[in-house]
Subunit: 222 residues, 2 copies
């Protein structure tokens, strides 16, 4: 399957790109608003994989140019850019394509980080407002520590939660996620359940900040 | 230490009472609005422990009567009764006593359960409004599956999150929690971080509802 990662030059985009390229047979495409930056990062990821004995070609390009080639498009951009990014590539998506959003909204005060969803109830539901007809939206990969994901020497052994209103699209994203070694994808229900998934991210950051020896946290349900 | 569990006849109260009595040396007191019900449940817990070879006396009584005897008072009542319950025992607490709240607020729609905090931002912060001067409030035990807790044959191997604005009180509650075999207590910061802890409970319920073979879920950060 062809998977484009828009914002694939950022922290979480890098982690997902490296893990998907390293652990799965999917074709990974790196997108950015700046095509040259995407190409340069794709070359970096190729070099990282080459150092581990994998000779792969990872293409980079402008968001719209990689989105048009992909079956699954992961929108790995900050929460405030999710809808703009989807709208910018909407004409390049085909019916049956799947958009995946890992974004969550947070703010910070003296106590720590707090979940700060948009009026739609969650960033995932806010993203849904920009999704073109015929394309399905799935929320996934919200609670993964970017640094741990990007370090291919780090074991994961953690869960990610998948939300969406279309069972087939959720199934495809679940299979993609579980292609990554040590990642279990759990069905957290419909898009309406995204807030409970997204709000885990500030908790993980707060716990890492308050407990010695814990960092880059994930979680396993058991 | 003397630990009173108000609402100790309910599901989460039963689990905490049995685990604390079974795994720790603390004195556990069962409270209820109905003293006779508390006495009957305390006798049930004694019988359960006796069947495991532990001869303990667990006293039960009216909430105020057990609160006055205790150093730590766990308010194991539904979220809408937390402040009323604290106010009803406020005169029976001494300076230096610690109140512990495990409650979280949820509602439900077609997608599943959702976090529904009161205007204070979280049930824990709402509880704080009723706490008398000189008494510290700590949030803990929010995300534990009651049935699993009450089944002393079930392994835990899960985390609970502790929030509070007084470090000493948090330390005492952390020590109490970690006295339970298989329970790790993680510092999630101040009371202002309670919402991110409380909102885990609906997620755990939603994931259990949507994935075969998962039930009575807890979680481990890793």
């Amino acid at each position: 399957m062809d998977i484009a990662i828009l914002g694939g030059t950022g922290d979480i985009g890098e982690g997902l790109a490296l893990r998907l390229a390293y652990h799965t047979n999917h074709e990974v495409l790196i997108g950015s608003r700046d095509a040259e930056k995407a190409e340069a990062k794709a070359a970096e990821y190729e070099a990282e994989l080459d150092s581990r004995g994998m000779e792969l070609t990872i293409d980079g390009g402008a968001n719209a140019d990689v989105a048009t080639l992909a079956d699954v498009v992961i929108v790995a951009v900050p929460p405030y850019y999710v809808t703009d990014t989807i709208e910018a590539v909407a004409d390049d998506l085909d019916a049956g394509d799947i958009l995946v959003t890992p974004a969550t909204g947070m703010d910070r005060d003296d106590d720590g980080f707090h979940y700060a969803p948009p009026p739609a109830g969650s960033v995932t539901e806010h993203a849904a407002s920009a999704v073109p007809d015929g394309v399905e939206l799935v929320g996934a990969f919200h609670n993964l520590a970017a640094g741990r994901l990007a370090n291919l020497d780090a074991d994961l052994g953690v869960d990610t939660f998948v939300v969406g209103d279309d069972g087939d699209a959720k199934g495809i994203v679940t299979d993609i996620a579980e292609g990554i070694d040590g990642l279990r994808a759990l069905d957290a229900g419909g898009l309406g359940n995204a807030a409970e998934v997204e709000s885990l991210t500030p908790l993980l950051i707060n716990v890492a900040a308050n407990n010695d020896g814990l960092h880059d946290l994930g979680l396993e349900l058991k």
